[in-house]
C-alpha cells in the first residue's frame, strides 16, 4: 500500500516538473532578493543567514503544501483512497514522505549553495544541513494536517498559512537557534535533539490527524 502509493506519487511528480521546481525557484529568488536588499554586506548577511534560510525553507514548504492533496481532490482519487478498506494512514504517509522529498530534502541538499550566497561560514554548514534534515520532516507532517483541512476550500492559501505557520514556530526557533549557537561557539545538541523530538511526535500523531481531517473535508 505504502510503496504503491509512493510509486504513483513519484511518477506524478516526475511528470509535472514545474511543480517540482516551484519551491526551489522560490528559495533562490528570495535568497537573491535578501542579498540585494541587504546591500550585499557579508557581515550583515552572515549574521542573519540562519534566520533567512530557515524562514525561506518554511515558506517554500508552505508553497508546496497547497498542491499536496489538491489534484487528487479535484479528480476524485482522494475520495477513492478514503473509501478503501485499507488503513488510510499508510498512503497518506507516502504522500507526506513525497512532499518531504521534494521540499525538505531537496532544500537540505541545496542549503550549502544558499549558505554560500549568504556568506554563512563554511564550518557551520554541516550543522545547518543536520538541523534541516531533522527539522523539515516535522514541517511536512504538521503542514499536511493544515493542507487536509483546507483542501476543499477554493481560497485556502492565506488560511493555510494562518493555520500552519504558528505551529511551525518551535521548529524555526530550534533550527535557526542551533545554527546561530554553532556560529557563536556554544553547544547546540539540545536544540537538535528537540528538533528530533518534534519530528518524532509529528510522525506519531500527524498521519492520524491528517486522515481525520481528510474525512472531514470530503464530507461537504
Amino acid at each position: 500500500m505504502f510503496t504503491g502509493q509512493l510509486q504513483r506519487e513519484f511518477k506524478l511528480l516526475l511528470r509535472s516538473r514545474e511543480e517540482l521546481a516551484n519551491p526551489l525557484i522560490f528559495l533562490f529568488l528570495a535568497l537573491t532578493l535578501f542579498a540585494l536588499g541587504g546591500g550585499g554586506s557579508p557581515e550583515l548577511l552572515s549574521a542573519f543567514a540562519p534566520a533567512i534560510i530557515w524562514v525561506l525553507v518554511l515558506l517554500a514548504n508552505l508553497l508546496a503544501l497547497e498542491g499536496m492533496f489538491r489534484r487528487d481532490f479535484d479528480d476524485g482519487s482522494l475520495e477513492m483512497l478514503v473509501l478503501l478498506a485499507e488503513p488510510l494512514f499508510l498512503p497518506l504517509l507516502a504522500k507526506i514522505f513525497m512532499h518531504w522529498l521534494y521540499s525538505g530534502l531537496a532544500m537540505t541538499l541545496l542549503a550549502p549553495l544558499a549558505a554560500l550566497i549568504l556568506f554563512l561560514p563554511a564550518e557551520v554548514v554541516p550543522t545547518l544541513l543536520l538541523t534541516l534534515l531533522v527539522g523539515t520532516p516535522a514541517l511536512s507532517l504538521i503542514g499536511a494536517i493544515g493542507a487536509a483541512l483546507t483542501v476543499s476550500l477554493r481560497k485556502g492559501g492565506v488560511l493555510l498559512a494562518l493555520l500552519v505557520l504558528p505551529l511551525y514556530v518551535p521548529v524555526l526557533i530550534f533550527g535557526a537557534g542551533a545554527v546561530s549557537e554553532q556560529m557563536a561557539g556554544i553547544s547546540n545538541m539540545a536544540q537538535i535533539y528537540w528538533l528530533l523530538v518534534i519530528s518524532m511526535i509529528a510522525l506519531t500523531v500527524a498521519p492520524f490527524l491528517v486522515a481525520a481531517a481528510l474525512r472531514i473535508s470530503l464530507e461537504q
Binding site: I142, I145, L149, T150, S152, L153, K155, G156, L159, L162, L163, L165, P166, L167, V169, P170, I173, F174, G177, Q191, W194, I198, I201, V205, L209, A212, A213, I216, S217, E219, Q220
Partner: protein, 248 residues
C-alpha cells in the same frame, strides 16, 4: 444525579438550554461582584509596589486575562476531543462560542502587557518568551476563527476546528518550551499552585478575586453564547417553536 446521567444530559441541547438560564444569572452576578470588588480593592486599597509604584496595578487586569486566555484554549482542545470521539453537538457549540472570547482575552492580555511594559521595561514590546508565546496563542485563535468562517457547512466547520484545536493543544507546550529557550525579560508566573506567592497578601488577594471573577465571566459568556447557538441550530424543532410562541 450521578455523573453518567449528567454526561448524557449534556448531549441534549434542550436540557442544556433550560439549565443554563439560572446558571448564567448566578455566574454573571458572581463575575460582576468579584470583578468590581477585585478592581476597587486592587486599584484603590492595595499598597503601591516599592519599585514600580502605581504602575504595577495593571496586574489586576493583565494576569486574569492572560490566565483565562490560556485556560480557554485548553478547554477548546478538550471540547475538540469530545466532539471528535463522542460527536457531541454541545462540544461543537462550546468550540464555536469560546473562540471569540479567548481571542479577545488574549488580545487584552497583550495590550495590557504592552501598556505595563512601557513604564517598567521602557518599551512597548519585547521579543521575550511569554509575550511571544501569547502572540502565537493569538494567531492560533485567529486560525480557529478563520477556519470556521471559511467552511460553509456548520457541522463540517465544527469538526475541522476540533482537529485544529486538538493539534494546537498538543503543540502549545512545545511552543512554550521553545520560546522559553530565549533568555527572558519577563518575570516568572505570578501564581504557582505549588508555592506561596512572592507578593504580600494585601497585594495578591485582590488579584485572586479578579482571576476568579474572570473565570465566572467566562462561564457566563460561554453559556450565553451557547444558548444563542442552541436556538439557532435547533430552530426547526418543536420545543424551540413552542418557546418562541410562548414569548410572542
Amino acid at each position: 444525579m450521578n455523573l453518567k446521567t449528567l454526561w448524557h444530559r449534556l448531549g441534549s441541547p434542550r436540557w442544556l438550554y433550560q439549565m443554563s438560564g439560572p446558571w448564567i444569572a448566578v455566574l454573571g452576578w458572581l463575575a460582576a461582584l468579584l470583578l468590581v470588588t477585585g478592581c476597587i480593592w486592587g486599584l484603590a486599597f492595595a499598597p503601591a509596589d516599592y519599585q514600580q509604584g502605581n504602575s504595577f496595578r495593571i496586574i489586576y487586569i493583565h494576569v486574569p486575562t492572560a490566565i483565562v486566555s490560556q485556560s480557554v484554549y485548553m478547554m477548546l482542545g478538550a471540547a475538540g476531543l469530545v466532539l471528535l470521539v463522542w460527536r457531541m453537538k454541545v462540544a461543537d457549540m462550546v468550540l464555536a462560542t469560546a473562540v471569540p472570547f479567548g481571542m479577545s482575552m488574549t488580545a487584552l492580555a497583550l495590550f495590557t502587557g504592552a501598556v505595563w511594559g512601557k513604564p517598567t521595561w521602557g518599551t512597548w514590546w519585547v521579543w521575550d518568551a511569554r509575550t511571544t508565546s501569547m502572540l502565537v496563542l493569538l494567531f492560533l485563535y485567529f486560525g480557529l476563527y478563520a477556519l470556521r468562517q471559511a467552511i460553509p457547512r456548520a457541522e463540517t466547520a465544527g469538526r475541522a476546528c476540533a482537529v485544529l484545536a486538538l493539534l494546537g493543544t498538543i503543540n502549545i507546550p512545545i511552543i512554550k518550551y521553545s520560546v522559553d529557550w530565549w533568555l527572558t525579560l519577563h518575570q516568572p508566573a505570578t501564581f504557582k499552585i505549588t508555592e506561596a506567592p512572592s507578593m504580600p497578601p494585601e497585594m495578591y488577594l485582590p488579584l485572586l478575586v479578579n482571576v476568579l471573577g474572570m473565570y465566572c465571566l467566562f462561564g457566563a459568556v460561554v453559556l450565553a453564547g451557547l444558548r444563542l447557538e442552541i436556538l439557532r441550530r435547533e430552530r426547526d424543532t418543536q420545543w424551540v417553536r413552542q418557546l418562541v410562541e410562548a414569548r410572542a
